[in-house]
Symmetry: C2
Subunit: 343 residues, 2 copies
DNA sequence: ATTAAAGGGACGTTTTGAGACCCAAAAGGA
DNA sequence: TCCTTTTGGGTCTCAAAACGTCCCTTTAAT
């Protein structure tokens, strides 16, 4: 019955996009309300004006209220959002557990591949495919700047991206942080190059020394090449990153023993692009580096987090609770079940 | 599950109209294929250009083929049409038996009110309400010329039309035929006046003598008043008529004994605006009169037939099989069940 | 007090849908 | 056979809608 929505796909394929978009707008308003036009537009990657016509329409049909402090869902809007959820889920092949997980973490979508990466390392292939599908669905046609971070997960996923992603698009991969100080095969520069190779597109590199004086840093930023890349990063259309276990990452990133014991004291469980979080999702330490900052992430229209394996469940939950609401999480059953069980 | 389509009504109310329209286009193509753009446009009351954009879209999404001889449904189109039928039915509160009847008679829609008019004469009130709803749904806003015919059914239904029909519209009722020769309360002139009164709108009258020479007829048509009304008739936006039993109507219309026995010989069962049909839907006699002709009916975008009661089942089926495919039939369970049983 | 973010107004540009033609080709009736 | 009708398709124009781009006032938070 409900599963047979193919008629709408047949008779009005373009309506689906519109409906999906309106659904996402409603969802974001539900989570962030009261929220303004501009920040919504950035989150969903729309222009401000288009967002305005959409929201004015939604107001006209009585799904949202528009007040001086921002936009809010009406009673009818909330009902519609609830009605809409299973429909969107069906149309886009979202399983029940996926929408449960996404709702629990308050993010746009969770994609779950079968298995548990901890015991089946080859699952990174599935994760890569899932990421590829997600990118294909969300990235607009035309030019796209994609900021990527490093990590074992990222490097094992990178080779699964397909050249068809670059069809009718012009992808440019840039590294999220200067890569010195980590082993070369998992630093973001390398992942960048791998993704560009897999998709037959372009990439940039960013090499910045650690621990330089702010004077020296300023002159480095003036460097044309470096400055360009930093511009790309702050204007990027999408971000792909992973989430790591705090202790492991602290060690791998070569933090001082002092800092590491501090992290242990404060019960850090998650690491994500240089930030450390405890179980309550509070940020408790930040590795000072040039590149994308946590507060910039809100302004990026599309954010993809790739992290899987039951062992990463705690870390994922710790970070994700405060991740930008437009985030997608690509994970596996091992992590998903563990997160939902502790709910 | 499937019955809960209210989400689409909430999030995109205008989509429903588009979907309904595309459905009707597909349906007409299915029945009339191969069929051309222009004739389709006339049948559905669209402009030729709008029909073109619609059909070009339908071609693009692969629901129809569009060749030199006209348009045809593709395999996918037929599947979609079948999938769509119950959806449209649900959205517009069409019961199973209604869509069965409409499909059997190959008309756009059948509306069935509960009961059997033969034994419950007060049902004409329900029939009138049903007609009123149908008109409200189908008539576009703005000016509408509506040609109406006479008959007992018509006159008993006329008073049920409501003034809200005339809101944002400008209705003009004109009689389908010159009315001399029938008892005054059931001739189309009277029905016209009743409908105009009920809806607080306007009407015209048409009085033409019977059996005049063609010379005299020509000069009559030159008469400004009469000519105007005839113009209205041929350019009307909707037609409302009834269907009668052949024998009864032959008698009421005062046909000669000779003609009546001819009708009996040829097994006439149905009468409709002066035409007589046998059980095989063949036209076997036509009362020569000025006014709307059977072949004009195809060019009228909206056609409503009102006929109910088990006793009229044969007549309804005989006429309806060759009625224009955009027709709506307003009937009751008595007639509907009888028609479908003989199927 | 200052700042950032909220909604909303205004204006010019671009895009799209529709009206109004015309045309050649194919089909069908006389 | 010819001639009319009907077919899809091409093209020009115009108006409405959508959109990009500013700017404004108000409001809440710092």
């Amino acid at each position: 019955m409900l599963n047979n929505l193919s008629w709408i796909e047949n008779i009005a394929p373009d309506f689906l996009k519109v409906i999906r978009q309106r659904y996402e707008i409603l969802q974001q308003i539900s989570w962030l309300s009261p929220v303004g036009r501009r920040s919504l537009a950035i989150k969903l990657g729309l222009s401000e004006r288009s967002m305005r016509t959409e929201t004015e329409y939604l107001k006209q049909v009585g799904l949202i209220d528009i007040g001086r402090r921002g936009m809010t869902l009406t009673e009818k809007g909330e009902q519609t959002l609830e009605q809409l959820a299973p429909v969107i889920a069906k149309v886009y092949n979202v399983s029940q557990i996926e929408s449960d997980l996404a709702a629990h973490l308050q993010i746009a979508r969770a994609v779950i591949v079968p298995g548990n990466t901890d015991v089946q390392p080859h699952l990174s292939k599935s994760l890569g495919d899932a990421l590829n599908d997600a990118l294909k669905l969300l990235l607009p046609l035309g030019r796209n700047i994609i900021t990527v971070f490093g990590g074992v997960t990222m490097s094992s996923v990178a080779s699964q991206l397909s050249p068809t992603l670059n069809r009718h698009r012009d992808l440019l991969f840039v590294p999220g942080r200067g890569g010195l100080g980590e082993s070369v095969e998992i630093q973001s520069n390398t992942v960048c190059q791998m993704m560009a190779n897999s998709t037959h597109s372009h990439y940039r590199t960013l090499y910045l020394p650690e621990n330089v004086s702010s004077e020296a840093m300023k002159s480095l930023i003036k460097d044309e090449n470096i400055g360009d890349v930093l511009d790309f990063i702050s204007n990027s259309d999408a971000v792909i990153h992973s989430i790591g276990d705090a202790q492991i990452m602290a060690k791998r990133r070569g933090l001082s023993l002092e800092t590491r014991s501090m992290l242990t004291d404060k019960k850090a469980v998650a690491e994500c692009f240089g930030y450390f979080f405890n179980q309550q999702s509070q940020m408790i330490y930040k590795i000072p580096r040039i590149g994308l900052q946590l507060e910039d992430l809100n302004r990026i229209p599309r954010v993809f987090a790739v992290a899987a394996g039951q062992s990463k469940a705690l870390a994922i939950e710790a970070y994700m609770k405060h991740a930008p609401s437009q985030s997608w999480l690509i994970t596996d059953e091992g992590a998903a079940n563990s997160i939902l069980k502790g709910k």
